[in-house]
């Protein structure tokens, strides 16, 4: 039954409950789709046996009318989430062969609710990248191509495997993580919906750390509703993560269709960049018209420190990364390269185990934290972070309910097209998303149109802390108002 991979997660959930098909049939359909799609390199490892075993258990629970909220739903898991007994690499050679003896809290929540694991999804090494080209296991190829062209395109990053797998119908949804845009940018590049929830909404326990004050887990799915369903299962307080916040998890799905009449949507003038492609301008203008037509009021707002968010991020994130990645030393797990003494072993192990981008970021982080530079760089960047957060607080306290912006400055680009000479060229991809991480706020990317070259484009909605419900309702209006985006042609199958 190939049609099963075309279902939305919500539709598959309802079909399973009504026994139109079994969880095993649904798993088989996805396993077959994954086998045919190896050209995309979306999975680092496939776990078909595990998927079928979990699906059989789901069928048994459905038979006993004991189905969980995600019973029998096949998902892909970003290979940054530790999965007990299943290799977890973070896309890095240094963790190749690492098999965690424990499960991340977010994935444990998904299995508790009945979901089925299809495998571990490719990503930029340690989630450091915006194109999935820094993975030790090779780049992910986007299922999308420019109209009339065979040029391989990037799916975005760092959750490139997650976005590609969802767009190519290899899974009904996927876990992802977002430190500076790693859920929203790949979602925008692949015509999928991805939400970075409020910092603290999901537990970070068992997710390989990149920049702890910015990292947050979230889903990528084919529709806004599907993303809402997944987030409800993923979220929740966890005593194992002191930064996870103990607040109730709302029924996000119930908020999807609640409408936006009477809401006030802010349009920040600082997101209108010089040299922004006109099709991004047009998309944004259309989005404004759609939310207006749905009964929301529009207000021009100012977030004056926006332009400093990306440079400040490239101090804070590498600083935290240099500290977090100190643990990879060839002693407790992962790669070890012998040396003439212990320091030499550390240095050889880390030189061989980390890729170019990761080494570069560790070095920048080490530099900005080093004696004599700490105040000039790190402390200053954290002060600017306070100012960025204050900008958002000012906007929200003036009565703004949500903020509408483009998700990315362009559509997807080709493999090898960006960042080879100057790393900053790649970093600029996150210009519209990174502010949200700096302020800890929720942000959602939703498909909103197609570029002149035939590629998906997304809009972003930013909300108040812990008000993901408003984001889902605004994103749903955009999804509903946008012209239907046909799935990519299956050139790989």
């Amino acid at each position: 039954m190939t049609g099963l991979t075309e279902l939305t997660l919500a539709r598959a959930r309802d079909g399973l409950r009504q026994k139109e098909f079994s969880a095993v049939e649904l798993a088989h359909a996805h396993i077959a789709a994954i086998e045919k799609a190896r050209a995309l390199n979306a999975f680092i490892i496939e776990t078909p046996e595990k998927a079928l075993a979990m699906a059989r258990q789901s069928d048994a629970r459905i038979g006993k009318r004991d189905a969980g909220p995600l019973e029998g739903i096949p998902l892909g898991i970003k290979d940054l989430y530790c999965t007990e007994g299943v290799q977890t690499t973070a896309g890095s050679h240094i963790l190749e062969g690492f098999v965690p003896p424990y499960e991340s809290t977010v994935t444990a929540n998904l299995w508790r609710d009945g979901a089925v694991m299809l495998g571990k999804l490719n990503l930029d090494e340690f989630a450091m990248g915006s194109s999935n080209e820094t993975s030790y296991f090779g780049p992910v190829i986007s299922p999308w191509r420019r109209r009339g062209s065979n040029t391989p395109l990037v799916p975005g990053g760092s959750s490139g495997g997650s976005a590609a797998a969802v767009a190519a119908r290899l899974c009904l949804g996927a876990t992802a993580t977002d430190t500076g845009g790693s859920i929203r940018q790949p979602a925008a590049f692949t015509g999928t919906a991805g939400i970075k929830p409020t910092y603290g909404r999901c537990s970070r326990f068992g997710i390989v750390a990149f920049a702890s004050s910015l990292d947050q887990a979230g889903p990528i799915a084919r529709t806004v509703r599907d993303a809402a369903i997944l987030l409800r299962s993923m979220a929740g307080h966890d005593p194992k993560d002191t930064t996870s916040v103990d607040v109730p998890v709302p029924d996000f799905e119930a908020a999807v269709e609640r409408g936006i009449r009477g809401l006030k949507i802010g349009i920040p003038k600082e997101y209108r960049r010089d040299g922004m492609p006109s099709e991004i301008e047009t998309l944004w203008a259309q989005g404004i018209e759609w939310v207006k037509a749905a009964g929301a009021a529009i207000a021009d707002i100012s977030l004056p420190h926006t332009r400093y968010a990306l440079p400040a991020y490239y101090i804070v994130a590498p600083a935290e990364a240099s500290s977090n990645l100190a643990r990879y030393d060839g002693v407790r797990y992962g790669l070890r390269v012998p040396g003439k003494d212990i320091a030499d072993m550390y240095e050889r192990t880390r030189a061989a185990g980390f890729g170019k981008e990761v080494r570069r970021r560790i070095m920048i982080g080490t530099y900005v934290l080093s004696a004599g530079y700490y105040d000039a760089y790190y402390v200053r960047a954290q002060k600017i972070r306070t100012l960025i957060k204050r900008d958002f607080e000012t906007a929200f306290s003036s009565g703004i309910d949500a903020i509408l912006t483009p998700a990315t400055p362009s559509a997807a680009f080709g493999l090898g097209e960006k960042g080879s000479a100057d790393p900053v060229e790649m970093y600029l991809n996150d210009i519209f998303t990174v502010t949200v991480n700096m302020a800890g706020l929720p942000g959602i990317a939703v498909p909103a149109g197609i570029s002149t070259e035939g590629l998906p484009l997304g809009l972003q909605v930013i909300g108040r802390a812990f008000d993901e419900e408003t984001l889902f309702s605004v994103a749903r209006v955009i999804e509903q108002s946008a012209p239907r985006i046909a799935p990519p042609e299956k050139w790989w199958a």
Partner: protein, 95 residues
């Protein structure tokens, strides 16, 4: 601010990453490109602004001071490149 080649070697050593001499010039260029990119932060007026320490300010939750885990030495060393009798093995550090 920019870094010279000696600084590149010093940072690499602090970061415990071996850098071969041939890689120093392009690493220096890349690090300087990033430092040039963050240069404009110097123009922001941060007088009297508190540096952010917690993005979602909240009292830290404390759990009861009880043992909740343990007796899993086998699991802890299972991924070690070299281990012996539940110990991680490293090159000799004390003569």
């Amino acid at each position: 601010m920019s870094v010279d080649s000696a600084t590149v070697r010093r940072i690499a050593h602090l970061a415990r990453i071996k850098v071969v001499e041939a890689d120093v010039p392009h690493l220096q260029n890349e690090l300087n490109a990033i430092l040039a990119f963050v240069e404009e932060l110097g123009t922001v007026d941060v007088e009297g602004v508190e540096p952010m320490t917690s993005v979602m300010p909240m009292p830290m939750k404390k759990r009861a001071d009880v043992v909740t885990d343990g007796a899993i030495a086998e699991k802890i060393v299972v991924n070690a490149p070299v281990s012996d009798d539940h110990f991680f093995v490293v090159p000799k550090v004390v003569e």
